[in-house]
Symmetry: C2
Subunit: 492 residues, 2 copies
């Protein structure tokens, strides 16, 4: 794409101030309209070193309303943020509905793309990062009606050299564009190819690149500013788009019927095994912590299938500082202002810690699907969104495990009745549980499809035969132990 | 306090499980009641190394509803969190209304208290930390109806030695209580005195310590658990407390009248000075960043006094990655679930960055005072709360500056009228501005008191004569430059 840009273009400076002020006026209006329409806006600035990104951004920032507006940079990613899967940082700093986030160096700032230094191969952050993950991330956002604007500031080799020389004189600016700029400048052709590949690979209709001729910073500023204003105005005029329903083949998924919900395990055997695996788990937790390996363990299952009890048997043996249980209910007021995956990304465990989710992101393709809280297009694309998310976590070295606690309909009835008849258990059973039970068959279809489409080697579903609680609890804790052991043997 | 505890006490284990289950039942009820009453609960666990804090906490955790419940530890404070003023971590992890936070090692985990290692003097985090700040922090919370429970697990020297020896055998646990435990054990008497001093100094009626005999972990567990349940039950029964109005002397504060709101500065002179100081500021920002020194700059002033314009002149020259402007309006739904200072603590700048607040925490003693959004007891204690907060920031090395933009009543009328008559400025003027104007004299009294009571060497108020915008803008940017220069000369 870079060869289509005329770097010699000049714009009359005569009306520069006037043009910028007019654009500022329009931006102010558009920003307030976007807030009213609850449309979040993401503006990405990439480009050559020395392309004066900072100056362009700061000029435009002066016209923005500071409410609901933030600037971030991958370069300034903090130590702890770097220890997380790459996109965690961007999820954590995603703008809420109606807000704007500007990224000065974004998810395109991958060391293996931007550095030519010998150690760039070993960078944890981009070892597994691919344009595929980038396109998937942007698609999640634009499918969710985020307005995503991407600018690449392009300068000629000559201009870059000139600016580096000028920068050398102003000692004070040396910190900003130190060595990497010279790497780039000394290998302009190599980087030209890299950037060009990157632009081609990620120039998608939902999130297109605008490559800006930036040899003249004022020309660049006006071009970028005009495009920002026009694209926000257009997006607001067109209004939010609904992902179309997919053309679904009439597939009948069948996963749960492979499992016989009752499996024998005596109370005595249970006690013995529980003690054994809890001891083992306590030791494994320490090893995981020492190695900085974290784990995400999700629990799904029928109401009253025993999620709580299984989780308690897991956590009893662990150090309380090393695990967190996240109960997942309907999204709250804050969570509703973000994409449905946001609340899981921001709750990823610290290195060496274990995050247990009591119900998970899969609510999207179960309760939200069946109760109509998600549109057909929304839950249908969610399978791929969640696969990509879990793949990123696993590639980062996390253990990702998902349990489906399976009981049959009769067993559920027994447990519901028991809860209703036991005074201090009554709060655990609600009208909603009975309503969900009436939709058993519809849920069964949804669960079958979910397991079939998201059971991946990097993030497997484990169906737990749950009619016998003893058997179920042991299967859960044993599976966790085995997954940790397997992961610890892996050098990654 | 330690000598009043009988470490030889034994409790019959016969009913241990039964007692714990009953307590668990009550805790569940109390937790749900606290959620309904929107009362946040903080539980602090401190104590000797080897006092089995983890086991006690984990036992109690098993009975808790995981919703709205989190465990934190100072020991696990992340790298980036350590770079912030000490209490930032605790503000960031404060429980919201109705939630519970458990601290396994809390703000009492100060290295100069807990370590005997030679370098403990140099620890940034506790160099300036004093019991005074701790008591102030807890008072802010309990005044705001947080339930604060503090437990110190006390064991004898003999038990500690025994447990260390046992720990050595179980190699796996070595990571948890490595060297510091031996330091403590080798200097039991020294630490006994330290801990005793700490307990005495911070044992306040609003947040008393319970020292627990923990030679027998089951006895300790039951004692702590019983106390937690009883104290939460009691607090909920008594209901929220209102801080009584203070007995105020009839002081007439007089600060603003010392300033003549109009000061001369020609447009030509303004342009020259602005260019000079913007250039200087750009350089200073880089030095501040290099040194990791951050700054908090607050702007207050009459409506239409020119806060926005002054802020823009400051930020125009800066690198957009190094500063953030935080516009402060009425607290939103999330912010209302926390103490009034929370939203400022969580927006402290990263090391080397600059946070600009367009309106500040002083809203508490101006608009909230005058409109009755804060009770008299609440805004009256706020002066001291804010002084302590700013003192902590400054002790941590931050530059803390507060501007009051002063115009007279006639000048405000001129600007209001101008806004009303200029189409693209009309959105900047609302009915509320006119209503506030009617209360000019009451606001003047509040501002005078605010400046008089919170103008401190570590966080000075700078009154800016604002009738002439040129003069005001230069005074602001010049003051900022001087404060940065002064701070940079300081080695801290």
């Amino acid at each position: 794409m870079l060869d289509r840009v005329d770097l010699s273009e000049k714009l009359s400076k005569k009306h520069y101030k006037k043009i910028m002020d007019d654009l500022g006026e329009r931006l102010g209006l558009a920003q307030r309209a976007a807030r009213d329409a609850k449309r979040p806006i993401i503006i990405v600035f990439e480009g050559w070193r020395g392309s004066h990104r900072s100056a362009v951004i700061n000029t435009i920032m002066q016209y923005m309303d500071a409410r609901g507006f933030d600037v971030y940079s991958t370069v300034r990613m903090e130590h702890d943020e770097k220890a997380q899967p790459f996109f965690t940082f961007f999820w954590q700093h995603l703008p809420a509905d109606g807000n704007i986030a500007v990224y000065h160096r974004s998810w395109y700032y991958l060391k293996n793309l931007n550095d030519i230094t010998p150690d760039h191969e070993g960078c944890d952050h981009c070892k597994h990062m691919s344009f595929g993950h980038i396109n998937a991330f942007e698609k999640v956002l634009t499918d969710d009606n985020y307005i995503v604007l991407k600018y690449f500031l392009h300068i000629s080799e000559e201009t870059q050299v000139k600016r580096l020389q000028k920068g050398e004189k102003t000692l004070g600016k040396a910190w900003r564009e130190v060595n990497p700029a010279y790497d780039e400048s000394n290998n302009y052709k190599e980087f030209y190819t890299r950037y060009d590949n990157m632009l081609e690979a990620t120039n998608k209709p939902n999130a297109p690149w605008m490559v800006v001729a930036a040899d003249d910073p004022e020309v660049a500023g006006i071009q970028v500013f005009t495009n920002i204003v026009e694209r926000i105005e257009n997006a607001l005029e067109v209004g939010p788009q609904v992902t179309p329903e997919e053309n679904r083949e009439d597939v009948k998924y069948d996963e749960l019927s492979k499992y016989e919900p009752y499996q024998e395990l005596s109370k005595e055997q249970y006690k013995k095994e529980l003690a054994k695996y809890q001891k083992k788990l306590a030791k494994l937790q320490i090893d995981m912590f020492r190695r900085g390996i974290s784990a995400v363990i999700g629990f799904e299952g029928w109401d009253a299938a025993g999620k709580g009890g299984s989780i308690r048997r897991l956590t009893e043996a662990m150090d309380p500082l090393g695990y967190t249980v996240h109960p997942v209910a309907a999204p709250n007021a804050v969570e509703r202002q973000f994409n449905h995956l946001w609340r899981f990304w921001i709750n990823l465990p610290q290195p060496g810690n274990i995050a247990i989710f009591d119900r998970t992101w899969y609510g999207r393709v179960m309760v939200e699907r069946l109760e109509g809280f998600a549109q057909p297009g929304e839950w249908q694309r969610a399978y791929e969104e969640m696969n990509d998310m879990e793949e990123q976590w696993a590639e980062h070295g996390m253990v990702v495990l998902k349990f489906w606690l399976q009981i049959d309909k009769d067993e559920q009835l027994r447990r519901f009745t028991d809860r209703q008849n036991t005074p201090n258990k009554q709060w655990k059973i609600t009208e909603e549980d009975w309503r969900n039970r009436d939709k058993w068959e519809a849920y069964e279809d949804a669960v079958n499809e979910m397991i079939a489409r998201t059971n991946k080697p990097y993030a497997p579903w484990v169906v737990v035969e749950g009619n016998n609680k003893y058997y179920a609890r042991i299967k859960v804790i044993k599976t966790v132990c085995e997954a940790f052991e397997k992961r610890l043997k892996n050098k990654m």
